[in-house]
Amino acid sequence: MTRKNQQVETRMVSEYLVQQYSKFPAMQAVPLGAIDNALMATAGYQKAIGLSRPYRPEADAIVILPNYLLLIEAKVWNVVNGLAKLPLYKSLVPTTPELQQYMPRDILMELVVGTTNSNLQTMATQMGVSIKLYNPAWLQDVVNSMNVYWTADYQAERQRKLAMRKTLGVD
């Protein structure tokens, strides 16, 4: 069976950018960090960036504000991972060649989440990250469907469907 790739967090970021920052240039899926100097010397700037792409961390989005670069990470699940990434990503911005044209600017950080709680707020404050809620109806549906997946009823129904598929020989 084909599982549809829902690109939940990518869609979340894209919508959040349009809703909140449509007046400013915004980049999605931005590679971060320096490129190896030796590679740059031998392969050239453009090729070195391409070769390094799989090994560089990637910010979900960066908004170019007049006086700031705004680093955005969106998380539906594992939200603490998103929070932990942001300060580390921030440390890489000054050495990112693709962002040199926008420097020097101070860097702000936002974690976009579907739900929040007081512990997350406490940690975010400690790390200098702003928590932003973005919870459209479609996102709630995704979260609900994931929660249902682990229930006994859903698993029983799933096993019944898998068995039927095997019996009928359908893929």
Partner: protein, 107 residues
Amino acid sequence: MSPLGNYVILQSGVPERMHFTDDHVEVRTVTDNVTLKPKQVNVQIFSVDRLNGAPVAAQFSTMSESLYAKFAAYLPNQQYRNFDFIVTQNGSGYTTRYMVQAIPLTK
């Protein structure tokens, strides 16, 4: 760009700045890379009237779910018309990554 200038074709590592005027989804039959069998896919197509600052009459298309998701929020009410998009592809096949920059147009 294709030889006749009808299609914008991304090359790895080369940013292309485009302005879109229209969009639609087409169903196309393609050959699956792995099974080598034909399969139907939905392709997101944009009409492009400006490429890297020069006027064109071309199409830009993608079947990539991740690239589509980056544009999805700009589709309602053709909001993409208010932006230029710089798309940079890196890698190929399953490892392809896309960076998309949306630049609001000043009126």
